[in-house]
Amino acid sequence: MAEVPAAVSGGWAPVAAGLLGTLAVAAALFDGALAERAAGARLGTGRPVGEVARLLRQRRRTTVAADRLLWRIGGAGLLGMALMIVTVVPLGRWTLFDLAVGVVWVNALDVLAWAFVWLTGWGANSAYTMVGGYRFLAHGLAYELPLMFALVAPAVAASSLRVGEVAAAQQGLWFVVWMPVAFVVYCLGVVAIAVWGPFSPALGRDLAGGVTAELSGVDRLLFLAGRYALLAAGAAFAVPMFLGGGAGPLLPAWAWVLVKATVLLAVLVWLRRRVPALRPDVFMEVGWLVLLPAVLLQDLLVAVIVIGG
């Protein structure tokens, strides 16, 4: 039985933020490389660097009668959300915030994406951004409940909402093995809160960029960085929840956490270009009639196994 991680002082927060940032940058580099390969351009990995430089040099904009405060809160909020999620992700023996209800904490945070994405769409006082914002809410109605029930499954199996104890409960057999449905639904949820790939109609080309249509300069940079950070934070949180935490041969526990998070993140990034978008109106029925019953059955199965064993 692995030891339950101990909380370290808040002074380590910049380190955790740095690790998250590194993961997010790696995701952006990988995504950039995939984009260049698809475009047949020279295989450079510097795309995110160039894009960041471009956005730092670019002037900010504000639109006529914009709701500026709400708009900026929405833009920067995603990044803040991602940082708050990783506080409860244990890195081997250490965790920043050993919360007794860590799972609920993450759940509460992921719902904030609704507010932030919608506010970014609403604040700009532009028809395209607003339609984009509401599209995200429509997606949210379909993905959020399955995501919540997916988070319950590991908690039931571990009889704890403490993330460290959930990770420790899967020594020997990772939860992903016997709750694959919950894992897949969780990954869908992560992709959705990052407004990524199949869940990107809120940023759709058909709406001239949707929620991001009016963002430029550092405002756009923060929003886009927030998306990558959320994807990275989601991948990192999957490690203690489904992928056995720091368990693994040879390498120390903290290294395994990073390796697993990186691999999952790479898969999520790769998925983006391969899959068409899921229109909110079509996905609504899938979310309620396929994902929700499936993940509830998964929960039932887990509960039965827990009381039986």
């Binding site: 475009a39 351009a41 660097v49 160039g50 002037r59 339609v131 080309r205 249509a213 068409p276």
Partner: protein, 368 residues
């Protein structure tokens, strides 16, 4: 100066362009897309996202106003290029790069815009939205939004005046920008000379345009990889690499046909029965839903390029309704038909339906 110079150099590796196509200049637009892509540049989806405004062709008076207003919406650093022909694209892109690189100039440009609000809309000029009953009998606000002429993956010149209930297109009227001015100077018509004969080069161009339209539809459906492949096929066709294009087109068609997710998302969207097509003045090849039309587009491309030279399967449309000035064999889509087929759908679906019509040219008759 060192830092800002280095920053400018890094930024220029990935400049973003907003491309505006004047109807009849699609080859120029394609050349801009291709050469910009080869430089590692990207296409912008909105002015906020753009560094370069690239106008392909010479715009008429109405489109000139649109371009001027978009130019004011670019955040800066900004550069505008006007490209008259495909062979001038490379030089124009070089010129844009030089303008963007010139930080002092950009600072001056930006400072000159300070304190000056947008000329077309100050806060007081814009009305508040007014209510109207929606289809559930609730009173909600209606937004009057014009879609086009400048929108990603949108047919050149088309303007759709939509009454939006939320994201539902309750009513729409369509027109063509600068309709009263005839084809702009240097306008190029796909598919042949005045004789109406179709040679191999024209066949390739016709096929390339089908691929371009398919790429737009795939991009709107959110499938980036497939859209990119369709664009590659298009560029190969235009470059005269016929055999490579044929192979890749066949592969793309297989891939699209096999994608269950795409099929599931496009099935039953925008169904058009033959009698309605006839009534609207649209070609019979457009029968079915968006999924059928996407596959139809790709198979027409394959037929056109794969068939014996001279046996070209043209873009779809109607011969009878084509306005004077457009040669036979290049049928035009009546804008009123576009407006009619999108009414009652939500914006995302409406965009898919417009893209699925495989528009080669628009009739200049408007429905007001």
């Amino acid at each position: 100066m060192g830092v800002s110079g280095a920053l400018a150099r890094l930024a220029l590796r990935h400049a973003h362009l907003l491309v505006i196509e004047v109807p009849g200049n699609w080859l120029t637009r394609v050349a801009v897309e291709r050469l910009a892509g080869a430089r590692g540049w990207r296409l912008a989806v909105s002015p906020a996202d753009a560094d370069i405004l690239a106008v392909c062709g010479s715009p008429g008076p109405e489109l000139s106003l649109v371009v001027a207003s978009l130019w004011e919406q670019l955040p800066g650093p900004r550069a505008r290029i006007d490209v008259a022909a495909p062979e001038l694209v490379a030089a124009a892109l070089d010129q844009a790069e030089a303008v963007l690189r010139d930080t002092p100039r950009q600072r001056r440009d930006s400072a000159a815009r300070d304190g000056r609000g947008p000329d077309d809309a100050s806060d007081d000029d814009i009305a508040l939205a007014h209510g109207s009953e929606d289809r559930d009998g609730l009173e909600m606000d209606v937004l009057h939004v014009r879609l086009g002429p400048v929108l990603p993956d949108w047919p050149a010149g088309l303007v759709l005046r939509a009454h939006l209930h939320g994201d539902l297109v309750a009513k729409a009227h369509a027109g063509v920008v600068d309709a009263g001015h005839g084809p702009a100077g240097g306008a190029h018509v796909v598919g042949g000379g005045p004789s109406g004969e179709v040679g191999p080069a024209d066949a390739a161009e016709l096929a390339a345009q089908r691929c371009d339209n398919a790429a737009r539809l795939l991009a709107l459906a959110g499938w980036r990889d497939a859209a990119q492949r369709a664009r590659v096929v298009r560029d190969r066709l235009l470059a005269g690499e016929r055999s490579a294009a044929t192979t890749e087109l066949a592969r793309l068609r297989r891939r699209v046909r096999r994608s269950r997710l795409l099929r599931w998302s496009l099935r039953r969207v925008g169904p058009l029965p033959p009698d309605e097509l006839a009534r609207l003045g649209l070609a019979p090849e457009l029968t079915g839903d968006v999924w059928d039309r996407l596959n139809g587009m790709l198979s027409r491309a394959a037929l056109t390029v794969g068939g014996p030279a001279g046996v070209a399967v043209g873009p779809v449309g109607v011969e009878a309704g084509a306005p004077a000035g457009v040669p036979v064999g290049v049928p035009a889509t009546p804008p009123a038909a576009v407006a009619s087929v999108v009414s009652g759908w939500d914006l995302a679906t409406a965009r898919l339906i417009v893209a699925s019509l495989d528009i080669a040219a628009l009739g200049v008759v408007t429905d007001g």
